[in-house]
């Protein structure tokens, strides 16, 4: 008896959700880490989606239909992200998926989407493997780890000219991938990688590993971390007075305002790779940045810009699609060729990646307690500071 009631309820829900598409609303469920360790990033992404949603609906929505977003909390855990994705595809019959933040979660969702032949667009996850698996249904808006640091490397090879690098990275997909790519890129440019040390996310005391770094005396210390680790690393580097020519971060934790709030004066002069900044000349970038700042008090990080632009990409694909099936939407996504606040968006298959959008990356530096764009100089909001003062000389 119970089984029949459950079956009937499931049928009702399915019919209801399908009709959601048929009426003059398009309802999409978005998985994000709204609580847990990555909550800060989830929050930035959600706020940006809200801004984009308002703008799209104000201009008439998608082919006259209003867009409606609802969010599911994956808590930053891949197992939960996976079950949310399964629910969205199997129960709600949503023909297109996007968002999630950490590489681990995006990988889990991508696997589900590919299995179920539903298009999924990654918006902010960096691990290269996600678009290197010959998946047909997975697209990625943001550049990958291998390209994250291009702007930063440009700054390093033109201005800093280091001979040696030490790399510290957190142990999940994001950190491992980021460290690998940075090591390869440094070797290619003739910089010696003195050490490449992994640490467990959430570690309390980095001083043992940092003492080793101090002993190795590298020119540049490059770190790949999420926010709390990034803050602790810089604080402990300041405590140990490790003087390097440059402290560099691989985006993520280093590129959001919380890093500066938590590390305080230890964050000054730290340079980080980033995918976007409010100063880039793409259409709508400045307006979005100002709108976000007015609503929430600070400029959005690149995660916000990616989220904001991703909704426009999805809306664009939905407006061009021949029908509402997964395959039609997949084809519409693949044919995307538009300008967004994040830059030009065109999904290409090259260099071993499939359905990947390639974009320029930049470098930020923390100056006067704020993130300023310093590289490439055509986008700079402030002049970079190099060489940076030693710890003892800072007040």
């Amino acid at each position: 008896m119970r089984k029949w009631i459950a079956l009937a309820a499931a049928c009702c829900l399915t019919v209801m959700s399908m009709t959601a598409f048929a009426q003059d609303k398009i309802a999409l469920t978005v998985p994000l880490p709204l609580t847990g360790g990555q909550a800060k990033f989830g929050e930035i992404i959600k706020k940006s989606y809200d801004i984009a949603l308002e703008e799209i609906n104000a201009k008439g929505g998608v082919n006259g239909k209003q867009l409606v977003l609802s969010y599911e909390d994956s808590q930053g855990k891949p197992e939960i992200a996976r079950s949310i994705a399964e629910k969205i595809i199997d129960v709600q019959k949503q023909p297109v998926l996007f968002a999630e933040y950490t590489s681990a979660c995006a990988k889990a969702v991508a696997a589900v989407a590919e299995e179920r032949k539903t298009p999924y667009m990654v918006i902010a996850s960096a691990a290269d493997e996600i678009t290197q698996q010959n998946y047909k249904y997975v697209f990625r808006l943001n550049p990958t780890n291998a390209y994250y640091s291009e702007g930063l490397l440009g700054f390093m090879s033109d201005v800093v000219k280091p001979q040696s690098v030490a790399i510290l990275y957190e142990s999940s997909d994001f950190g491992t991938s980021g460290a690998e790519e940075m090591a390869k890129a440094c070797e290619a440019k003739g910089m010696k990688v003195l050490m490449k040390e992994k640490y467990e996310k959430g570690a309390v005391d980095f001083k043992p590993i940092l003492s080793q770094v101090k002993a190795a005396n590298p020119d540049v210390i490059f770190m790949v971390s999420y926010v709390m680790d990034a803050a602790l690393l810089m604080r402990q580097i300041k405590e140990l007075r490790i003087d390097a020519k440059l402290f560099a971060g691989g985006a993520a934790g280093f590129a959001i305002p919380e890093f500066i709030d938590n590390a305080k004066d230890a964050s000054e002069f730290v340079v980080t790779a980033t995918l976007w900044s409010p100063q880039v000349p793409y259409p709508g970038a400045k307006e979005f940045a100002e709108k976000y700042k007015t609503a929430h008090g600070s400029y959005p990080s690149y995660h916000g810009a990616l989220a904001y632009s991703s909704l426009f990409v999805i809306a664009d694909a939905l407006s061009r699609t021949k029908g509402m099936t997964a395959d039609d939407i997949r084809d519409a996504l693949a044919a995307t060729n538009m300008k967004t606040a994040f830059g030009d968006v065109k999904f290409e298959t090259k260099n071993g990646y499939q359905n990947q959008n390639f974009a320029e990356t930049l470098a930020l530096q923390v100056l006067g307690g704020k993130h300023e764009t310093i590289w490439p100089e055509k986008y700079a909001s402030a002049k970079y500071v190099f060489p940076i003062p030693k710890w003892r000389e800072r007040k």
Partner: protein, 308 residues
């Protein structure tokens, strides 16, 4: 060569400072274990509760975490007393299938505390970014020509010094006051103590409260150094347990030495083997203590007639 000396010295200093904090965490558990023969597996979660109290004091009233040392431990004392009186004691009295069901009870309490924190405060990371968070004292400031640079981080050093003071206060309490002596009597032989007129059940209740208050002190000291989230507790329960075994169950001096040994060992493992190996080092020392030194450091001291 001096570079290697510097790495070693810095690691040693970091290990000792870490050990001081570990010792404070371990003492509470060993006290509870000694007096009531209960392994308090909610120890880490009690620390987490204290850290949340200190965090909200900072967020709402701008009270420095070190000043919360006067706020959180008394509150946790009351919580500990309440838990012992109304949850643990009744369970102790009941005959049940499991001989040590009070241990499982503490696990349950820990889970409830952790999940309540997740519901009320969400699992977002919280921190108290105080101005002195990355200040330090440097050897090269005192001795300009030093071949090695040693830095003593301010929050770590303050936490170490306060841990030492609190431990001394505890020793004074246990050795010199009537209540303290009664607690020790209960730990040595419960029945004899009862015959001598000690109110054993009250001593047990006070001890649980005291253990909770001690780990609350550790929490307040730890907050400026790290950050806070509900699932923080379990790793510290484990550390407390390792220290209790290493130091000898019930021995406060053992817990102090055990904490220092563990801190230094973990630091050395992190530097010379690899950072991910520090937890392995912790377990290695745990197993070694169980196999080679079952009575812990305390038994070593006893056999050398250094303590009674």
């Amino acid at each position: 060569m001096w570079v290697q000396v510097e790495v070693f010295m810095q690691t040693l200093v970091a290990g000792i400072l870490l050990g001081g904090l570990y010792a404070l965490i371990g003492i509470g558990m060993t006290l509870i274990l000694g007096v009531m023969k209960i392994i308090n597996l909610t120890h880490g979660q009690l620390m987490m509760v204290a850290m949340y109290i200190a965090f909200w004091m900072f967020e709402l009233f701008h009270i420095d975490p070190y000043l919360s040392l006067f706020i959180a431990p008394p509150l946790l004392f009351v919580l500990g007393v309440g838990l012992q009186k109304y949850l643990v004691n009744p369970v102790l009295k009941v005959e049940s299938i499991l001989p040590h069901n009070q241990v499982i009870l503490t696990v349950g309490i820990g889970l409830v505390l952790q999940n309540l924190a997740t519901i009320f405060f969400t699992s977002d990371y919280r921190s108290t970014p105080v101005d002195y968070a990355s200040s330090a004292w440097y050897l090269s400031d005192l001795w300009a020509g030093t071949p090695v640079e040693i830095s003593l981080s301010l929050p770590w050093t303050v936490s170490f010094c306060l841990s030492v003071s609190i431990t001394l206060l505890l020793w004074f309490f246990l050795a010199k006051t009537d209540t303290g002596k009664s607690i020790r009597a209960t730990a040595q032989d419960k029945d004899a103590a009862m015959l001598m007129g000690v109110n054993v059940s009250r001593m047990q209740v006070i001890t649980f409260g005291l253990g909770a208050a001690l780990v609350a002190c550790a929490g307040c000291l730890f907050l400026p150094i790290y950050y806070l989230f509900p699932a923080l507790g379990s790793q510290f329960t484990l550390i407390a347990f390792v220290i209790t075994i290493l130091g000898g169950m019930g021995s406060t001096i053992g817990a102090i030495l055990g904490g220092l040994i563990l801190g230094v060992f973990e630091s050395m493992t992190a530097t010379y083997v690899g950072m991910g190996w520090a937890p392995v080092g912790r377990f290695a020392i745990f197993v070694a203590a169980l196999v080679f030194l079952p009575g812990g450091v305390a038994s070593l001291l006893k056999s050398k007639k250094l303590t009674k």
